[in-house]
């Protein structure tokens, strides 16, 4: 870089006097006004600190966080919430019965305790949700990051591949996989069936974010400093484009829970030996007229769980995206 700047300006204006080419007011003519003090001790801020400051003021965040905490507790320690086993001690005489002593929500058609079945079904829903998001996030980051960062033919191949998976609605794809895998129905196989077709939305979100970030100055600076392309992607581009991935992950967790329940409801999901809200809803559908509570209660558990994750996703999206913040 050639420099045109050779030194301090030769035309020095004396403060307080009248010399040089332009007028400078003498100190006694205008009173000194204090400028805004620069707070040196102020805490540094970044996207995540800002987002936290925003999120902690929103009641919706605390409501959804509390719900998720509760659901997670129920999933991890069902024993705290109920002593009644979900499958044993089912007495057909209690079929579709109302609340009784020790059975606060009544009984299913098979005479099992509804409350206990809901409590024990929680871990199934959450397990499927978490396995699916591990899958979709891994695949989504791999495909999205390489496609967005390397561009060119890598992008063309990876994006077309994503298009193909995206073109099959993932519940329909899972229906096909699960009908084929009818002998292998488990939490793992259903999560695989959902996850394998649900990742392209994560990849698309990450790819477009990386396309935006990779032209930033700090990326050019790292290139100038001699960092390899892969290290730039890993250390600078990815951490700066991960925010929308977190939002879509929260929402796809809710989507995966719905997908598992839908598949179980259709009878191609989990086997009847596995506790699942979808299975219970499936079992209860023929008694909608006579015993609506057997269908409504697991539906409420399912909907509240999904609601918690979706609203958390929305709150986090609002916090991470200044444009979304303006809409409130």
């Amino acid at each position: 870089m050639s420099s045109n700047f050779t030194g301090p300006p030769t035309d020095v204006t004396t403060v307080g006097g009248r010399s040089g080419t332009h007028y400078v007011a003498p100190l006694d003519e205008t009173p000194l006004v204090g400028v805004d003090a620069v707070k040196v001790a102020e805490k540094r801020s970044n996207l995540w600190i800002d987002a936290w400051q925003d999120v902690r003021r929103r009641p919706m965040f605390w409501i959804s966080a509390a719900l998720i905490l509760l659901v997670a507790l129920v999933a991890l320690f069902p024993g705290i919430f109920t002593q009644t086993p979900p499958n044993n001690n089912c007495i057909l005489g209690n079929s579709n019965g109302g609340p009784a002593d020790g059975h606060p929500l009544g009984f299913t058609k098979q005479g099992c305790d509804i409350y206990s079945r809901i409590v024990h079904g929680t871990s199934t829903s959450l397990s499927v949700g978490f396995i699916v998001i591990v899958l979709t996030t891994t695949l989504g980051i791999l495909f999205g990051a390489f496609a967005g960062f390397y561009g060119g033919w890598v992008d063309a191949v990876l994006s077309r591949l994503g298009d193909i998976f995206f073109s099959i609605p993932y519940i329909l794809a899972a229906v096909v996989i699960m009908s084929v895998l009818s002998q292998y129905r488990s939490v793992w196989s259903i999560s695989l069936a959902i996850g394998v077709f649900a990742w392209p939305s994560t990849a698309r979100v990450l790819r477009s974010e990386i396309l935006r970030v990779k032209n930033a100055d700090f990326v050019m600076a790292s290139t100038a400093l001699g960092l390899s392309r892969f290290k730039i992607l890993l250390k600078h581009v990815l951490p700066n484009s991960i925010a929308p991935v977190i939002v879509i992950t929260t929402i796809s967790l809710a989507g995966a829970i719905v997908a598992e329940a839908s598949l179980s409801f259709l009878g191609v999901g989990l086997g009847s030996n596995i506790m699942s809200w979808g299975n219970d809803i499936n079992q209860a559908q023929n008694d909608l007229r006579s015993a609506p509570q057997t269908l409504i209660l697991p539906s409420i558990a399912l909907s509240v769980t999904v609601f918690a994750f979706i609203s958390l996703g929305e709150v986090v999206r609002d916090a991470l995206d200044p444009k979304a913040r303006a809409l409130r």
Binding site: S167, I168, A173, I177, V180, I281, I296, L302, V304
Partner: protein, 309 residues
């Protein structure tokens, strides 16, 4: 425009090949014998197995099987259903019903969605806005089969306003409740999209100009704000078509609507693998075609899309 149409269709070919290949691969290259799976728990007769194996060309190499299957699709041959009826004949019978249900649902969700979203956006932060946001969040969180059962119970059993199952021939008044259920999820999404879009557009310079040159809000709101806010909604409707197809499968099953979705639903419930695959293929093809059509329509609306990429 011709070049754009050509390019868009050319782009669809690898996706079409890929999706059909994937579906085919999922069914025939998975662990487990598809022919044995057909029989469920029963032990099949070896002669029947051999005959079915020949019928589905399972004695040929995988890629040959796929090409035979692909050739069938091009000739409009989607195979036979479990009861031996050609899939195309079932489609001809059931498609009009599903089309009627889907169009009704699309009308409901776009009309009410845009209306509620517009009012919400114009009254940002007021009571109406807050409550419509809350209602839409709840609707998004409810799986469609829960909405269907609640609708069936409240309007069918409890209030007695509608029939819980749709009669033969699917008369329009019977389809209103299933269509409302099918529309509910997308309705909530359209409300949110329209609201966000209206708020964004209302803050733009041309709206201020319109007001400052003395136009009344009766002109500015529909012509300047609403029209410019609808582009994301059109895009959403296209991507949402897959959700509509899955929703139609479940809604038609629960309300017993004699449509394409119900045929798939019944096949899933009875575990009729080949029928499931045929109908999923049909639905994926419909989805692909709709997306191409929407893209073409979109290119017609917005010239920028035709030229970029």
């Amino acid at each position: 425009m011709t070049g754009y149409i050509f390019r868009r269709i050319l782009q669809a070919i690898p996706v079409f090949m890929g999706t059909t290949f994937l579906i085919y691969f999922m069914v025939f290259a998975m662990p487990g014998d598809p022919i044995v799976a057909l029989f469920g728990d029963k032990t099949p007769n070896p002669a029947v197995v051999a005959q079915l194996r020949a019928q589905y060309h399972l004695d040929q190499p995988f890629i040959v099987q796929y090409l035979i299957y692909l050739g069938g699709i091009f000739r409009g041959d989607f195979g036979l259903s479990f009861s031996g009826e050609p899939v195309t004949a079932i489609l001809a019978r059931t498609f009009p019903v599903t089309a009627r249900l889907a169009i009704l649902a699309l009308l409901f969700e776009t009309f009410f969605g845009i209306l509620v979203g517009l009012i919400s956006g114009l009254r940002k932060g007021k009571l109406f806005d807050a409550s419509s946001l809350a209602v839409s969040l709840v609707l998004i969180s409810l799986p469609i089969f829960v909405i269907a059962f609640v609708g069936q119970y409240v309007f069918g059993v409890w209030l007695g306003w509608a029939r819980t199952t749709v009669g033969s021939g699917a008369p329009l008044q019977d389809l209103i409740l299933p269509a409302l259920v099918l529309a509910s999820v997308s309705f909530a999404q359209i409300v949110r999209l329209t609201r966000a879009s209206v708020i964004e557009t209302s803050g733009l310079d041309f709206v201020r100009t319109a007001y400052s040159k003395g136009l009344s809000s009766r002109r500015v709101i529909p012509v300047h704000i609403l029209r410019n806010s609808l582009i994301p909604v059109v895009t959403y409707l296209a991507t949402d078509f897959g959700v509509l197809l899955v929703g139609a499968t479940i809604t038609e099953g629960i309300f017993n609507v004699p449509g394409v979705g119900n045929t798939l639903y019944q096949a899933i419930i009875r575990g009729e693998g080949p029928t499931v695959v045929s109908f999923v293929t049909v639905m994926v093809l419909i989805y692909l075609v709709v997306n191409i059509l929407v893209d073409l329509f979109y290119g017609l609306l917005d010239p920028r899309i035709r030229y970029v990429k």
